[in-house]
Symmetry: C2
Subunit: 203 residues, 2 copies
């Protein structure tokens, strides 16, 4: 459960309301840790009850800003230094790639081309953003420096994916097109499998 710590981390920069945090999460963290407002409001309630944050001010409309407490700040720091990193990755596009052999070559080529464009577009947007930071357009605070590091990860990740998609297009064209019908028709049942394999190893 990292949403808790993500919220504490953002609040470490200064007071903010649930609404602020929702937008901040979407803009800044949406790419690596999505969170919708109901979850954020609920978590803020729990954080307040645990004494890690407290109400800072009430503003116009029903606006309610929270402030991090000493205990809260200690807790983010404990998380950052002591808690084990969870390397679990969940990425639908890569799950799909395992099943590319089930696709028609033409569909696969189109798919990979769309993916390539998506990744390189995202990488480009991040590169632009990082460039602005490097020119000091967001100041030179330590928060900004951290964000610059995060942006660099995004750039490298999405560039790697764009290059992968491009590589995969070529690889598939070479290795995955067989005599595969030009008719658009394909066999009802895929290659029947070696039956059984009850306790077989795999990989």
């Amino acid at each position: 459960m990292s949403l808790r710590h993500g919220l504490l981390g953002l609040l470490a920069e200064g007071p903010a309301s649930g609404y602020d945090l929702t937008r901040r999460f979407a803009e800044l963290l949406g790419q690596v840790w999505p969170a919708r407002h109901p979850q954020i409001y609920a978590e803020l309630g729990r954080l307040a009850e645990a004494g890690l944050i407290e109400v800072d001010s009430h503003g116009p409309r029903q606006r309610k800003a929270y402030r991090i407490t000493g205990a809260g700040l200690a807790e983010v720091r404990r998380w950052l230094t002591d808690d084990e990193v969870d390397h679990t990755l969940r990425m639908e596009p890569l799950l799909r790639s395992v099943f590319f052999w089930l696709m028609e070559p033409a569909d696969l080529a189109a798919h990979l081309e769309r993916e390539r464009q998506y990744y390189s577009g995202t990488a480009a947007a991040m590169r632009t953003y990082a460039g602005a930071k490097d020119r000091g357009e967001f100041g030179t605070s330590e928060q900004t420096r951290s964000l610059r590091i995060a942006a660099e990860a995004g750039i490298r990740l999405f560039e790697a994916l764009a290059e992968w998609a491009s590589w995969a297009e070529r690889y598939a064209a070479e290795h995955l097109t067989e005599h595969h019908s030009e008719t658009g028709h394909h066999s009802e049942h895929p290659p029947a499998l070696p039956e059984g394999r009850p306790g077989s190893g795999s990989a």
Copy 2:
């Protein structure tokens, strides 16, 4: 909900039991789409009820293998070609990176070094695996080719992350160590929070 389609995709290769699929998910897909056995058994039940898979055979012990149906095969293919790709990424290590400014420089350096090792180790393991595939050690079926493409994504992704961690170590040493002390000394407590900014916009 991609677990459903992941299971169908694996079953497209041939009949398998919940137990087989659990291990297959862990070995093959654990890195991009984790799934535990209770979730898998539950989903298999739903898939069978929906007519997308059916019981193929009962084996020793209580083993119960499923086989994909024509409707199931059509459904995976529909997913692969028609369903929009969900690019949502969830990656705790990158979430953390946004909050690096809250860490002691020494702790951060240690953290980044551990991360670098983790990523380059994982990339190396995948490279070895891909090499075996390239030497034809797993045959030359279309399934194997697909897996080779997926492995390539893993290699590139983890290599990119390893290089990022290495870059971040240098960047942090240069930009994130306060007055850039050559003394190796740093203050006990990082910058006290800028108070205030109640209703401020963000980003």
